[in-house]
Amino acid sequence: MTGVGDSGDATTGVRSLETDGLTKAFGGVVALDAATVSFQHGRVNALIGPNGSGKTTFFNCVTGMIRPDSGHTSYRGRDITRKAPHAIARAGVGRTFQLCRVFPRMSALDNVLAAARTGGPWSQLRGARRGAEVDRARGWLTRLGIEHLADVEARNMSWGQQKLLELAGVLMSDPDTVLLDEPAGGVNPALLDRIGALVRELNAEGRTFIIVEHNMELVMSISDHIVVFDRGRPIAEGPPSVIRSDERVLGAYLGV
């Protein structure tokens, strides 16, 4: 088990994910423009901003899926800029994808099991469907209300079901810091309340969240700290109450 438990008490002041001057341009489009952001450990953070402001690109860069042109990323004080995605994931940063990615020809249960973390290389040879892990996997499916789909192949699920399955997977991988890209997109609002509660619960256990989301209601209700992106760089940050009244945010994002 990773040190989720013991870091739980140090909820403030510990640095989680940080970037320094992160820049990424695609051809002429500057998706990230020297973005310097710092997220603290133990919080529920939100990352908001208009479409195309670079939120997903930010996720992709910090999780190693794409190489930034310049700038640095560190996690808990350690530089992870050039690390491979799986190494970053193993360091404790889990993520979901905006365009929802599941393993289409695997059952829901296997989808979740495939996310389970392992120890050293030799543990790779252990059986994949051992009791304890199957129970844990089923537990996540149940918490997200899709336990009845355990044996259904992911490609045969509805959009929202896949979204939930992806969330179950990333939670199964037991990350310290969870990056969620639009977890609410397409999810039934009734369930969303439960997801919100789940996030708070997991946060209470000491997990950090960074959530990209356009559902302001959810964002405002669950986050401790909000960072607002525009054109590839943060333009404001602070607790929900502050963000709600920040003029730049209103102009750039809320469209008033």
């Binding site: 997903t56 509805s158 997109g185 009734a190 209601e217 469209g255």
Partner: protein, 259 residues
Amino acid sequence: MASEIELVDIQAGYGRAAPVLRGLSVSVEPGTIVCLVGPNGAGKSTVLKVASGLLKPRSGRILVGGVDVTGQGPQRMLAAGVAHVLQGHSVFREMTVAENVLLGGYTIRDKAVVAERTAFVRDLFPVVADRWRTLAGLLSGGQQKQVEFARSLMVDPKVVLLDEPSMGLDPKATSTVFEQVVRMRDAGTAVLLVEQNARRALQTADLGCVLDLGRVHISGPAAELLADPQLGELYLGGRPAEPTTTGTAAALDAATRDG
């Protein structure tokens, strides 16, 4: 008034699996918005796929403008006036935004109409105009969604089926989309809208249907559904609606007030 589109007692499903829709009936009259809500996997998208001919129902009938079109493919359905915007992402990823939008008008022969509509959508969604020559697959998720919606605005159908058009959109774009939905309704189009942004959608819609277990669970005037506390808890989420505002709208309002 006669329904523009009517699904009668539809049974439908995928492959050999158990049916997803189990005797469902919905109809939409011209100039109205009917909003479908329901839990994930209830079958909302399946309803739309049946309505646009992407999925052939196992039994039941589909009427468009009173004509039985059961079993017709999407091409015929489009010709009959039914347009469908898919859930998730359905841009043509390796084609430019321009090609995507223009393909929206694939069936329109009149060049002038195409040009006029193009200008309209370019105006409506700045990203479409700004990224006209970019491959659509390179856009951000929300930008793609906007392109998709723009593409669907190229035609002027009698029935429009929208599957979560606001998903992934920022508040500004969401408003644009809802404005367009209203504009279509006002122009006499029959709109069948699926939304998980349920409160906002029901505020816009005339009628609401709650789908669960593959059939219509409850239906009625949208305002009534919104007001039902139990439905709210089960399907619409969030706090029971304050009289006028909720969800994103609430945040917006709050923002406007404070600003």
